[in-house]
Symmetry: C2
Subunit: 210 residues, 2 copies
DNA sequence: TACATTAACGACCGATCGTTTGTATATCTG
DNA sequence: CAGATATACAAACGATCGGTCGTTAATGTA
């Protein structure tokens, strides 16, 4: 298993295809994305895909995983550098907004598009997406709980409730920024969470003023 | 223009088709919805559509209008019965959650699905959807401004900011309730807005406690 | 009554969909 | 080196897509 030559080339093009697939799917969805257009975008042939994946659904499942890894690297990892507690919680929110603002994906957010697409459609893809989103929300809840354990959030805080609000305010940026106000919604989403955390934090100086 | 017989039958089936189209589109989107499946669902033939609409896009535009009227009747109108101010603002939020909770549309919310579908796709449908959503958000902002004018909200409130938060918390219910926690997200969304309004209202007794 | 309009249909069009098949070739394994 | 494996392709499959055409019958208008 020297993993080079033919094997390595296979892995490389596999990754390249998945990257393109995630980008395109962030715009038109995982089902809206057709193999023909994906082939054109990657400069390959439709039939070549079936050397890597049994059918379209397998490719979709791998695309979900790839997008999850990208999110972990570009959003979660940078935020984890901040000290645990409300600062890390807010860093997480800011990292997400930065990911959107920098237009890393042409459609803004892969998971948002795919959630809206599959939330009513049973199947393996929906299950995989749901699991990823559950893990993400569980992760936010852990950060909230940790901040509370550190005494950086009022004891009256409902963990699930606050986690829900932070996630909702972040996710809605996608729709609002693309359909109308553009960067203004980024500002709204940032301030909404910042003010909320400052109001609940016994030591507001841990967070920026505005 | 006696408006009966042939003419009336045309209007009736037109409305029936649009109702089906909005329901189906709330699940699979306006483009995801195919004319063949719409024909099956309405018990008519594909080609019959072209007696009512020039092409698929015209049907999509009318579907957007139809969904807007439904929203006005089933969400806005009931809320307007509440007295102006924070009570009407919260009634609006509750009416929306009721609309979702009662599953009036099989996909939960037509506009949510269609926004996610068209936010990156230029064209007449996108413009129509964007206009409808702008009007909706402008409407929420007017309710916030009115509540402030009535002295029912602290003067420090940023109108656009609060309106954004209320809308975001309401809209995110669709994804969360369908993909994982079900009715729990309805509770979260209700409490989030209720607590926010109570905190900003000089006379919290105007609003329910929980 | 005579004529135009309208709703609705079945049959069919070219394009595209996801997928299968067969083939050529480069790379690994023994 | 020999033989299995993996990458990638062109060509073609049946199904479905949005849309056109010609027709039929009921209704509206004169």
């Amino acid at each position: 298993m020297t993993q080079d030559g033919r094997r390595l080339r296979g892995l490389r093009s596999r990754e390249a295809i998945l990257e393109q697939a995630v980008g395109l799917a962030s715009v038109e969805g995982l089902d809206g994305l057709s193999l023909g257009r994906l082939a054109t975008a990657t400069g390959t042939s439709k039939s070549g895909f079936f050397a890597h994946w049994r059918d379209k659904e397998q490719l979709q499942l791998d695309a979900v995983d790839w997008a999850g890894r990208q999110w972990a690297e570009r959003v979660v990892a940078p935020a984890m550098k901040a000290p645990a507690g409300v600062r890390r919680l807010f860093a997480l929110h800011e990292a997400r907004l930065r990911f959107y603002g920098e237009a890393v994906l042409p459609g803004g957010c892969f998971f948002f598009t795919v959630q809206a697409e599959f939330d009513d459609r049973p199947g393996a893809v929906r299950d995989r997406v749901a699991r990823a989103m559950r893990e993400w929300q569980e992760f936010i809840r852990r950060q909230v709980a940790q901040a509370m354990a550190l005494g950086e959030l009022a004891e009256s805080v409902d963990v699930a409730q606050l986690a829900y609000e932070i996630d909702a305010l972040g996710e809605m940026v996608i729709i609002h920024s693309r359909l109308h106000d553009g960067p203004a919604s980024l500002v709204h989403a940032r301030r909404a969470v910042l003010q909320r955390l400052r109001a609940l934090c016994p030591d507001p100086t841990l967070l920026p003023e505005d």
